[in-house]
Symmetry: C2
Subunit: 327 residues, 2 copies
């Protein structure tokens, strides 16, 4: 079988190699799965180049999620069937054409869009958990987010719209506004001075209950000013590379509550029930096409260099997928 591997940290297009390794028959309790689609996320690229919080053990096979088809089962595997599609969750590196691993790492997938399901566990899950775990949101409530045109941001818009929650979406450029409106954004505004006043005007003075920020710096500071009493601001990245000043007065007088969210930590600590509940909420929406991640392009494993370069390019329009086995 074929794997994508790197033995050193560095520029992904330089250090990643396609390798042929020995096929393996699944042992007791294992399954053999052909990988159909697995995405390239910015976090993958950061990890390969050594810029991510957690460095991989080398040599490493990147990739954290995907969808595959079961092609062979070892003894004693009850919850899977040959020919069935499965989500690749907790089976380690997914950038390969085949995986043999303990069957518990494969979750039966419903019928539906294989490519969309292959991108469920990172960005849609992040959006779902940030909406669910940091504020008690009812239909008609308002939230605000920065980087609203990111993969997570677009998921937040669609998930919130499904729940009847109004979104204020902050972007860097005017031309990013229209596409977000067509996704279901209630309000979309360009970041900059007097943001709180513009949000007030655009929402009719609505109370903002939750902010989500992956930018930091000035953007975080401006989002804090838009929050209502007791509102939370959840940070899940620092794209600007700048830490904000913390307005202690907003914490004391307006009970603003900053929090952090780290998906990897959630997967490590959430109970099986919590994971099933989150999956149960997301999978039907994604399998049915009710919420979607934009796809920029698809590459076979043989073109991994082009694939990671495309994933790092500023002009791309959606996710880059690896499709090791044509469907």
């Amino acid at each position: 079988m074929k794997i994508i591997e790197h033995e050193t940290l560095g520029n992904p297009a330089d250090v990643l190699e396609l390798k042929q390794v020995q096929d393996r028959t699944p042992g007791a309790g294992e399954a053999r799965v052909k990988v159909l689609a697995t995405p390239i996320h910015p976090a993958n690229l950061l990890q390969i180049s050594g810029q991510y919080a957690a460095a991989p053990d080398l040599p490493a096979i990147p990739g954290g999620e995907g969808v595959g088809t079961v092609v062979e089962l070892g003894a004693g595997v009850e919850h899977l069937q040959v020919g069935q599609n499965v989500l690749l969750a907790g089976v380690g590196g997914t950038w390969r054409d085949e995986i043999v691993a303990p069957a518990a790492g494969f979750i039966p997938a419903p019928p539906g869009d294989v490519e969309q399901l292959s991108m469920l566990a990172v960005n849609p899950m992040t959006a779902h958990l940030m909406l669910a775990d940091f504020a008690d949101l009812e239909p008609g409530d308002w939230i605000i987010q920065s980087a609203a045109n990111s993969a997570v941001g677009e998921m937040v818009i669609q998930l919130a719209a499904q729940k009847g929650i109004n979104t204020v979406n902050i972007v860097r450029r005017e031309d990013l506004i229209l596409p977000l409106k067509s996704l279901g954004a209630t309000v979309a505004l360009v970041d900059g001075p007097d943001l709180a006043e513009r949000v007030q005007a655009a929402t009719g003075g609505a109370e903002i209950k939750l902010a989500m920020d992956c930018v930091g710096g000035d953007t975080f500071e401006r989002l804090v000013e838009t929050l209502g009493y007791g509102g939370s601001i959840v940070v899940y990245g620092t794209l600007s590379g700048k830490f904000p000043e913390l307005n202690m007065r907003a914490l004391i007088a307006n009970d603003v509550r900053p929090r952090g969210f780290w998906l990897q930590q959630w997967y490590t600590t959430a109970s099986q029930e919590q994971k099933q509940a989150a999956m149960g909420a997301l999978v039907p929406l994604i399998a049915s096409g009710a919420i979607k991640t934009r796809i920029d392009s698809r590459f076979p494993l043989e073109e991994i260099g082009d694939a990671v370069n495309r994933a790092a390019a500023s002009g791309r329009d959606g996710k880059v997928l690896l499709v090791p086995n044509a469907v």
Copy 2:
């Protein structure tokens, strides 16, 4: 009766005036109370000079807490008796020798130290609520605080010691350490670089569950570094006048949770049950002398200028009390 009043905002010693006003007999549902002791807090001075968040309606009588003796009751007052000592809570300005107000504003006080009870509702209550409401603390747990030699800080030390909670106390000068140790401080350290390492060394690597900060700036930033995973940092003031940089990485990777605390807001929004529970926890400890606020000096109303100057002086050693009626 005599009142302390100011008709303009300004330097307290300049704008405060002692005035003689008409005595009044309590109407139905009211009580007349002679004030025995009422403290001068920094927040009072800020409010008189116009530097506090909430400006008073002028003319204003300052003072937010104290103890008095019931001297006369209007018709229909059931829960009070003439001769009984009461806490002055929610009766408005307390810097006066007598108050006539609805009886609901007077809470029967237990026998015990009148002066200590007169200072219960602000600093001890702040310390109690910050310890109770932001972390689930068990005996043996560790907390950390800045400005540990402040009135709130000393209350935190004593309340925590009563509960078997270990305290790391951060101060500005070496000579402040010994007095805090004698109050029950587990560890006391001078603020400065490498604070997190020194806390680790002094606590044997204990997990710090809660930080309390009223300084801001660098001090807040250093306290964040001392917290364990999921620890909260509660801010209740900004003595340095500087907002800190918010380490977003600490929020994301270490789940640090900044919060604000504002006592005035708590009194406005807490339920009657919450207030009774908090009073019920504090009053016995204070009435019995188990926890104490240091008293610097006592002044009659006639010496209000000297009293507020003393309360603003850097060399004072504890609270300044107004004692309108000798006990």
